[in-house]
Amino acid sequence: MLFGRTKKNPVNLPTKPVERWETVTCGYCSTGCSIDVGLDAEGMPVSCRGNAEADVNRGKLCLKGIFEFDIFRAPGRGTKVLERDHIREPWRESTWDSALDRLYSEIRRIQKKYGRDAFAIISTGQMLTEEFYTLGKLTRGLIGTNNYDGNTTLCMASAVSGYKRSFGSDGPPGCYEDFEHTDYLIAWGSNMPEQHPVMYWRLKDAHERRGFPIVAVDPRVTMMAQNASLHLPIRPGTDVPLMNAMMHVIFAEGLEDAEYIEKNCTGLEALKEEVAKWTPDRASQITGIHPDTIVTVARAFARAKAAMQVWTMGINQSTHGSDGVVGINNLALITGNVGKPGGAPLSITGQCNAMGTREWSGTSGLPNFRYLENEQDRKEVAEFWGIDEEFLPRKRGLTQTDIYKAMEAGEIKGLWLIATNPLTSLPDTSKVRRAMEQLEFCCVQDSYVDAESVQYAHVYLPGGTWAEKDGVMTNTERRVNRVKPIVTPPGDAKPDLWIFNRVAERFNRERNRPVKFPETAGEIFEEMRQLSKGRLADYSGMDHELIEKHKGIQWPYTIEQRERGETPPKGGVRLYTEPATFRHPDGRAKLIPLPWEDNNEHPDEEYPFWLNTGRLVEHWHGRTKTGKVANNNKFSPIPFIEINPDAARDLGIRHGEYVRLVSRRGDAIVMAIPTGRVPYDMVFLPFHFHNAANRLTLGLLDPHSRQPAYKQQACRIERIEDQEHAARLCKEMRTF
């Protein structure tokens, strides 16, 4: 059947000129996939493939990872140091020395004039752990501002806060291997196929082999919800009542694991007292979930041999984010589902190294989950760094969200923004602009010069990105993974570590006894090892070579394990596996009652729609990366809303038309895509696009974590008569 011709022509397929493959860890989400990057003869990255030997991804990659080699040469990379005197002036090219001297002198000037904390530093979850550690040391040890935070406040703060409240420390107790052991899985506000596609594949693969019920709690019919055994289409912001009602059923029917609670928990009576008020009927009125469904899920969850809960921003980004996490922990604790195979409350982290900053950056305290509020912790760290203990504040300063409020109020006059872009990522863009306009000095350090926040900078420092740098990152399952510099940053751009060390040099000049800032990531890792000994996040058995060899090592991996000759396990490392080993002083986890009060902005006559925001699989955060990779960006190049077809028909909105969304904060022009994925009174708007979602969001803050509620607010939808004009505006607002 050689059909079509009698002469067989040779077949020529495209090939890539890969000379060598280098293995690094993906720089997008927190799954922590191992990527082989193919480099050509000139050392340019031309290909990516999933590393098949890494336990995390077992050869798979999502569409962002597959084209990650494209980001090195993407447009918009900063290649020059830039300076200007005023934000209205054009940029002039500058030198590292001039810009860093200015950064140093401006920090000190503002601190002298307005007080130590009048200069704020905001970083990210995107850098490498050694960089976070160095920045923390620089900020806490030399600069001395307490208004230091990361953009992780926008994604993981509620998980951190909830873990701390329940278990006494941050640190997700589960691992991916739990998918292979669990008998029941609840996904709270987590659309894994879109947010963590490779992690979803691990779940799917395990599910296809064993089969177990999956419950998706989500107000939208996401792919996760559609593929789950049971979808609970919950009313936005009402997860806590649902959790309370589930606990109500568990206690009422005696399904709790009394022995586990007895050995591991405190606060049972107060919890029982609170949940006694939360009958399924009452919760049903609030959540919109059928009371019988609540009972069914609660029973099945409690009866499962091992039950797992995963969650993402659906829980964290709400006014009850921290409470939601505590509720999940409560459910896990009363059913004994912590620290056992298949039983875990596993927060799925957002950014590639959100865990690294949680562990080491010292934004919310001191390295390795040490607290500023704890004298012993302060002393240990001060001694180790060789600084005066008194220099360290005794209480945590402001979070990123509160720093912006303080900037608006004129309390903070200077800002150093590192690898984050609040102009796209913080709620209520117009307030963000107003806050940044008031700054006396702003330095933006970013690998992209076209990140919108650079508009408000006086100094721009071009940073390196991803595999232009050396160090480690920690993923969702606490696996420390390697990233190596396989490409040099373009032009004058430098790795962030280099920048921090040069800044540290300048501050060190003030001191008689300079603080040591090692130059290489390997030496810094050595410091971290020492600081981690005996801590929860114990790195002491690891080093860069060993991590690389094993394609990541989960913490804890102690020096004792290493000396015993224990090879790091492939996976399956969990926390709190032994009784009463939680991190509260008594070793017990706290069961915390969660009274609930609805404080969200609700749809009303004027603004009749819920505005829900979230992620798309093809984009990463503010699109500075994926907006420039055509094979990612093309799947959604402009902002759009999912709108219920009946609502669209009633408003006279046609498929693919532009509409104007209006909230009490501002407006945005987006394309309307009618789909039954969302209820009649809700629109879903992806947050990735500048000048879209966050012009509208309210961002009420969680009282514990200070994380904004991005997913629950009201808006109205206006038809646009002049579609051509709308198209023009939409196009102009997409510089990438």
Binding site: M1, V11, T15, E208, G656
Partner: protein, 680 residues
């Protein structure tokens, strides 16, 4: 490591191929073919491999299954084995990127039809397959060999979305291969892969018309087609295609056709949203067991939904009233489209064919009003006018190609392609016409004989080319065209256009007679009546049919509603004028008739191309959404290459490339090429 097949250190690729474990990795040489080695080497340090660089460790899910299928024939009754043991086809080298594994290293299933397996319940629409394909095949962002389309059904929260990942189905009946005039396609005995060579293709895009799955991709920038190549380079080293290995939902699989993957139970031939598999017998099998609603809708701009037909047990397409466009003129869009080249070509060539046939037959029959023209001064320049009009049409047709300088390849697939036959026929006609026009300038026995010979050639070309000009539009994947009305419309244009052309020439040449006028009137009236009747019958059959043709009629009466009304009015006006001319023969009626007829034919033919709705894969929201692509081009979003939409563009006639090809092709090769027009 679970799920991985350990390699044997040091021996490289050969030892890790699942089917040759334990055998000697010796190379083979073959008698009359160049020495072929499988030089693939897992040691990336030495870049010797030209096939596919298989890693020392490949995960289980990426490995091709090596198992004998239970069935000998597929569900359509066709042999799964493509070339039996001992067939000479097995001896011919299958060289991929200059490389071929030796006999004992070959996939034992190599000579069986392979295909994709798609578990629609599992697809999460994560685009990993599409992107892995783009990464491997280095396709530009505005096209891809694989894409995920979406259909959805139900109301919140009882809503379900069905993602359909689709590439080429390497069909049993590859309509692309049969349609391609340049013979750029081959269906190989190896894996049954249908491969297309962009270096042969001249970018006419006919394969993109006939394929129901949107598999061939016409690149508006590069000017040629390319498509899924089954990753035969990966298959040869024991790996499944890149898209399959990349799948994050465990939805996509690949193997010998009808060999259902483990943990799967169905081998369905279709799922909702998938075009009728009867058209091409595609080599894809499906599993789709989760309950869907009676109606599923496309999410792209196309107003198509699929409705469950209980009798046929399939979802059939129909008009989605939720996306009905406004009634409009849309004249600009209509008259500036890429398809205007076809409008110009078909109209001009049909009018000239008609005029020539009437002229020659009229003269031969001694029918005075026409023979009078032939014998007059007008008889000398009229054939040249015809040459000019036909040349204009041919020029427009050729210049719409993505590679116009490769025009000569249009005949290559004479054995299978109606396009090749049309081109051959029209070329014969044009040659005959030119001969006729030339020899008609003289008047002696010798030139007269040559003139008549030319006329015979032209008439033969008319019959052959004219028939295939019609046949080539009878495309099952374009149901609006796939109706006999198409033939009537073409005949009507030829007849009416031809006779009016003759009458006008007679008027200008002062040999106009009332009889000629009356003949013109009756012929035009008859042609218009026939076409109107055919159009009506087509409408009656199609406008409510379970077919994309119904959507075409909706576009006709809404998107182009006013234009269509104008066309019908012009038809009526032309018919009335023609009747008047038929009854009276008044020359004054001829001019308005010609004008009305011209505009009517222009609009009618433009509509014919504009409203056709292919039976094809559903698209998505932005990428692969025809509405968004059009919008992005219109408002300039397409200027940004990151949007993944390329502007249509004109492709120059590269004389240099043509001369280079002529120079570099030896006479022996040219002769071979010529022979293969007839042998395949």
């Amino acid at each position: 490591m679970p799920g991985l097949v350990p390699g044997i250190q040091g021996n490289g690729l050969l030892s890790v191929l699942p089917w040759i474990a334990g055998t000697s990795p010796a190379m083979t040489k073959k008698g009359n073919t160049p020495e072929v080695h499988c030089r693939t080497n897992v040691n990336a340090g030495e870049r010797e491999q030209t096939m596919f660089n298989r890693r020392e460790y490949e995960p289980e899910y990426a490995l091709l299954r090596n198992r004998e299928p239970e069935r000998k024939t597929n569900q359509w009754g066709k042999e799964i084995e493509t070339a039996p043991e001992g067939s000479p086809l097995r001896e011919e080298p299958f060289i991929v990127n200059g490389d071929e594994p030796g006999h004992n290293m070959r996939n034992p299933q190599r000579y069986k039809q392979h295909g994709f397996y798609f578990n629609a319940d599992n697809c999460i629409g994560c685009h990993a397959c599409e992107t892995a394909c783009a990464e491997k095949n280095q396709t530009p962002p505005h096209l891809n060999f694989r894409s995920v389309g979406i259909v959805e059904c139900g109301t919140y929260p009882a809503y379900r979305r069905l993602n359909i990942s689709m590439a080429c189905n390497h069909c049993d009946d590859p309509v692309c291969l049969k349609g391609c005039p340049t013979r750029a396609y081959t269906k190989f005995a190896e894996y049954g892969a249908v491969l297309q060579d962009p270096d042969i293709c001249f970018g006419c895009g006919y394969c993109t018309w006939v394929c129901p799955y949107n598999a061939p991709q016409l690149d508006p920038v590069a000017g040629h087609v390319s498509k899924c190549n089954m990753c035969v380079d990966r298959l040869e080293v024991g790996l499944k295609p890149a898209c399959v290995a990349a799948c994050l939902g465990n939805a996509l699989d690949f193997g010998v056709i009808e060999d259902i993957p483990d943990n799967r139970v169905q081998a369905e031939l279709s799922i909702p949203g998938f075009p009728d598999p009867n058209i091409t017998h595609p080599n894809i099998r499906f599993q789709q067991m989760k309950t869907l609603e009676r109606e599923v809708k496309r999410v792209d701009s196309m107003p198509v939904r699929y409705h469950l037909n209980e009798d046929k047990g399939r979802y059939l397409p129909e008009v989605d009233e939720d996306k009905l466009p406004e009634k409009a003129w849309n004249l600009k869009k209509l008259l500036t489209s890429h398809e205007m080249a076809h409008v110009a070509f078909t109209l001009s060539i049909q009018a000239v064919l008609g005029a020539f046939v009437l002229l020659v037959l009229g003269r031969w029959a001694g029918f005075t009003p026409i023979a009078g023209i032939a014998g007059s001064a007008a008889g000398k320049w009229l054939p040249w006018l015809m040459v000019a009009i036909a040349a204009f049409g041919l020029f427009k047709l050729n210049m719409h190609l993505g590679r116009p300088h490769r025009f000569y390849r249009g005949f290559y697939n004479l054995r299978l392609s109606p396009v090749s036959r049309e081109i051959a026929g029209v070329s014969a006609f044009f040659a005959g016409l030119m001969g006729y026009a030339f020899f008609n300038l003289f008047d002696n026995a010798f030139t007269n004989a040559l003139r008549e010979l030319s006329a015979v050639l032209a008439l033969a070309g008319t019959g052959f080319g004219g028939y295939y000009m019609y046949r080539l539009y009878r495309i099952k994947a374009r149901p609006y065209w796939d109706h006999w009305h198409t033939g009537v419309a073409f005949l009507s244009t030829g007849l009416a256009g031809g006779v009016v052309l003759l009458a006008l020439a007679a008027l200008i040449g002062s040999v106009y007679t009332t009889t000629l006028g009356q003949l013109t009137g009756w012929l035009v009236a008859a042609a218009l009546a026939a076409e109107a009747a055919a159009l009506f019958l087509q409408w009656r059959r199609q406008h409510k049919a379970s077919s994309e043709a119904a959507v075409s009629w909706m576009f006709m009466t809404r998107s182009y509603g006013h234009t269509f009304t104008l066309r019908l009015a012009l038809m009526a006006a032309a018919f009335a004028t023609a009747l008047l001319l038929g009854l009276t023969g008044w020359p004054a009626a001829l001019i308005p008739l010609a004008l009305a007829l011209f505009v009517e034919k222009l609009l009618g033919r433009a509509l014919f191309f504009a409203v056709v709705v292919p039976t094809t894969m559903p698209g998505a929201y932005f990428w692969k959404n025809p509405g968004f692509i059009e919008h992005a081009r219109e408002v300039g979003l397409a200027d940004n290459p990151m949007v993944g939409v390329a502007h249509e563009r004109h492709h120059p006639f590269r004389v240099g490339e043509l001369i280079k090809t002529i120079r570099e092709t030896t006479w022996a090769e040219k002769w071979d090429q010529f022979k293969r027009i007839f042998t395949g």
